[in-house]
Symmetry: C2
């Protein structure tokens, strides 16, 4: 069993040098100075073994990456720049030092990619499973923050990439069939090591065209329903426009599941969902293509009323809040 | 079982109105503006069922108070003003809505006492026990923050109140004997609903006399050893000067345990431990008496070298890090 002091010493070294404006790990609190003209963004995510991850297929390094990534994604969702992280771990005795160092390496590697500083945390024992709680602090210039509540009637709804990859990746991991896992590495990677959309989020927030934004963690039907509620509107999704990847189609077929269902209800894609006035949509698409060499996808529009309607060849149905709900499942 | 949305709606109402400079619960991040001239203080604490609390004697309301208090205490330890809190809960299905509302009431009541705003959090399912992770953000004027590392040679070591009450309170709870529990409500209250020393901490940080400070969570021997390490010094404690309450003496006797041991190794007292130059100590004592109508206690002094020496009638012994360690115990 690892001692608390030994582990904290290791994490402190792994966290690296802190910038001059920051007092990091080692005191009762971390201390930092906010930049003038910026607002502070803060969020916390808790990941619980057996609910959010399974150590049977989540290696320590990958889990470290993912734990950081899903938290960073919350800052991306507002258009902010992630700055500081605190990592709290409730550790079962069965995890040895090698596991903990691999986890910490993955976690800090993910942070370094975005120049985020690990400034504190907590390490406690857990009598049951591993539980991770990560707090993140970011910043954004005043007036350049995107909320869920800003969508307007007739605004176009867009997503930053194909949906359902992560949900199908999770299904593949659960099946545990090596042949299936090897066939679609894009899907398992989407589940195991999602990528937060920090640069795109900042670009969209700075450009002035986007009216509302969030990151997709619970599946399109639930995430969009949250945006509808916050904006006091409804949404109409065009089923044919919801982007899904070719591997997702193939895997869904092999797993005998519906690929659209994975996109709507699967969760964990961590793509950005955002709205903009119809007149600005084409400009925005071209701009993102020019700057990031990638597509964004128009999937529907905001309407007056309530709820998320999925409109397809078979008619319309309300799909609000049919995604993943963490407490009831 | 409670749905995540139902619970978040309840917590959002319980959190009350947020001030104008704050965007609270309901988006991917909370947003706030830092005050000019202030540094931000941030800390996280995780409390795990079966490790930090036992629902057999910790009622939901008391646990709510305690979860907030131990976190607030980290801000007090630096001399800061607590401002914002995020509450993350991993909830086992056995906890019903009544339990959750009572917990939330205790938690938000503790926050209100210090004008702290609940601005976010996370609610997830737990397949095992209840786990709480609380992040706190405070502020302090630049130059008025106390670190563990500031103690100087010959500085007097002081504590803000008697030690060992909480450890003995825990022992009483564990025994579960109603007669014992009823005899010393001060001790069980010290364990169940500790009080963070926010006003005193701010006063000490503002006064310019105190050189180092922390809040006592792991027992004097460990907390002081941390201060020694951070300050690059050792400490000599006078065993006869360590303050213990009359109820603590009586309960220790009834439980056939050593009261000094409870003070040194017990933890969870959440008193402030601080140092000041010898020449300023008497002034500081009188000042605290005048402002707060309470005693502070001189218990030893900082010395060159390393380690925490306990000096008593039976000679000297090194007691460094003999307090509670969360991961190995």
């Amino acid at each position: 069993m690892v001692s608390e002091r030994q582990l904290i010493d290791y994490i402190k070294r792994a966290a690296g040098k802190t910038p001059a404006r920051v007092q990091g790990i080692g005191d009762d609190c971390a201390v930092f100075g906010a930049r003038a003209g910026c607002k502070q963004l803060v969020s916390v995510d808790t990941l619980v073994e057996g609910i959010h991850f399974d150590l049977a297929w989540h290696g320590p390094r990958e889990l470290g990456h993912k734990a950081a990534a899903v938290n960073i994604s919350d800052i991306a969702a507002m258009g902010g720049k992630p700055c500081f992280v605190l990592l709290s771990m409730a550790l079962p005795a069965r995890l040895d030092f090698a596991w903990l160092t691999a986890f910490t390496e993955g976690f800090t590697a993910e942070l370094r990619e975005y120049e985020i500083v690990l400034i504190g945390g907590d390490t406690v024992a857990s009598p049951a499973g591993l539980s991770l709680s990560i707090s993140i602090i970011g910043e954004a210039e005043e007036g350049r923050i995107l909320y869920r509540s800003g969508a307007g009637v007739d605004d176009v709804i867009m997503v930053s990439g194909p949906l359902g990859d992560a949900a199908l990746g999770l299904k593949l991991c659960r099946q545990g069939r090596k042949d299936l896992l090897a066939s679609w590495p894009r899907l398992t990677a989407a589940h195991l090591t999602p990528r937060p959309e920090v640069a795109l989020g900042r670009h969209l927030a700075a450009g002035g065209k986007v009216t509302a934004m969030l990151d997709m963690s619970d599946g399109l039907s639930t995430d969009l329903a949250h945006m509808c509620e916050a904006s006091g509107l409804g949404a109409r999704l065009d089923a044919d426009l919801i982007p899904v990847s070719a591997p997702a189609r193939q895997a869904a077929s092999a797993l005998e599941t519906d690929v659209l269902d994975a996109a709507l209800s699967g969760g964990e894609d961590y793509k950005l969902l955002f709205t903009c006035p119809a007149a600005a949509a084409e400009d925005l698409r071209q701009e993102v293509m020019a700057v990031f060499k990638r597509q964004i996808f128009r999937i529907g529009k905001m309407v007056s009323g309530r709820g998320v309607l999925l409109c397809g060849r078979d008619g319309e149905r309300d799909v609000s809040f049919q995604g993943y709900e963490h407490v009831t499942e």
